[in-house]
């Protein structure tokens, strides 16, 4: 992957990373946490985030907090479409989305039902 592509995509990672940190610090304060070790995220495959950039922004923003040094573990959840013709739901890969046919009836008119998640599952702390 070229650096150029990484750079253009790295813009909306910043506000998202700020939100992650804010939520993590709120839970850390409530739970008397001294150090956040790992943070488990669920992010839909449709969300155009670069894992590497989220971690870099997180490292930068979290300096001096209990979350400094925490590792973001990102699980990518599948993109699901629901067929408009027969109502079957089926997973698709990002690259084939514009050309995906329903495996049950062959129609190409699926509606997006999931794949856009941005969710913090849990965190490992000391």
């Amino acid at each position: 992957m070229s650096t150029w592509q990484g750079t253009t995509k790295a813009m909306h990672e910043l506000p998202i990373t700020e939100s992650i940190l804010k939520i993590v610090l709120t839970h850390a304060a409530k739970n008397d946490v001294r150090q956040v070790v790992n943070i488990h995220l669920r992010v839909g495959k449709l969300s155009d985030l670069e894992d590497e950039w989220i971690q870099r922004y997180f490292d930068y923003l979290s300096k001096g907090t209990v979350a400094q040094g925490a590792v973001l573990k990102i699980e990518r959840t599948p993109i699901m479409l629901q067929c408009n013709s027969c109502a079957a739901s089926y997973p698709v890969e990002l690259a084939e989305m514009g050309d995906a046919a329903c495996p049950a009836c062959g129609q190409k008119d699926g509606k997006l039902i999931s794949g856009r998640e941005y969710y913090i599952e849990n965190m490992e702390v000391r």
């Binding site: 995220l41 989305m97 514009g98």
Partner: protein, 226 residues
């Protein structure tokens, strides 16, 4: 060394923005103001389309415009020259608008009795798709010179818009753009999308767009209230 323990968080990362967006939608809904979010790549004709829309709706719809740009006021100046209330939001490097920025834009529009407010989002097919602005309708422009393969590269944007305007159709004779291939790709992502072919230069298709928009504005003002 202390043992590592697990804390359940279970929170939506974008919950704050989604909450502000829902608030914007509700507040404008109460005053019967339809908020429309217009998105596209840079240079595909957002400002030209807004100028055509102003021309088409002037006198029948009370219209306001919120322009977003990373760091210039060129677009708002063009819109303001038509006499329509317009404000410019400079996103200061951000590649998209979020609902809080839209709230600031709405506060800056001094008049409050609008039927329709159009947001011209930052030119970009990636980031604006991720952030709910609070709009009731999402519309995107794809221009012919950009190519018919864009739904394959930016599926999220195409999957969440209510209308796709295919602009610059006057370029079709010069181009290998395949409208049928585009339609098939777009419908595979979003069977409910309305596709309208337009040219802001020749005026082709603009009537159909204005008719759709006028119909939406009228329907919005008489819809059953929550």
């Amino acid at each position: 060394m202390e043992d590592v323990r697990l804390i359940e968080v279970k929170e939506e990362i974008l919950a704050d923005n989604n909450q502000v967006a829902a608030g914007v939608r509700k507040k404008l809904g109460v005053s019967n103001t339809l908020l429309l979010n217009l998105m596209s790549s840079p240079g595909s004709g957002k400002t030209s389309l807004i100028l055509k829309t102003i021309e088409g709706l002037k006198g029948s719809v009370r219209l306001g415009v919120i322009e977003a740009d990373i760091d210039s006021t060129v677009d708002a100046a063009k819109v303001a020259a038509t006499g329509i209330p317009a404000i410019q939001l400079r996103t200061g490097g951000f590649c998209h608008l979020d609902a809080t920025m839209v709230t600031q834009g709405l506060d800056a529009l001094v008049a409050k009795d609008f039927d329709l407010i159009i947001i011209e989002n930052v030119g970009n097919l990636v980031c604006p798709a991720e952030f709910d602005t609070g709009a009731h309708k999402n519309v995107m422009i794809l221009s012919v010179p950009e190519g018919d393969d864009k739904p394959l590269k930016y599926p999220l944007m195409f999957s969440l818009c209510d209308v796709l305007l295919v602009n610059k159709i006057d370029y079709m004779p010069l181009s290998d753009f395949n409208m049928d291939a585009l339609r098939e790709r777009v419908l595979a992502l979003n069977p409910d999308i309305r596709m309208i072919e337009v040219s802001c230069k020749t005026g082709a298709g603009i009537g159909e767009w204005i008719a759709w928009l006028k119909n939406e504005v009228d329907a919005f003002s008489v819809r059953p209230k929550e």
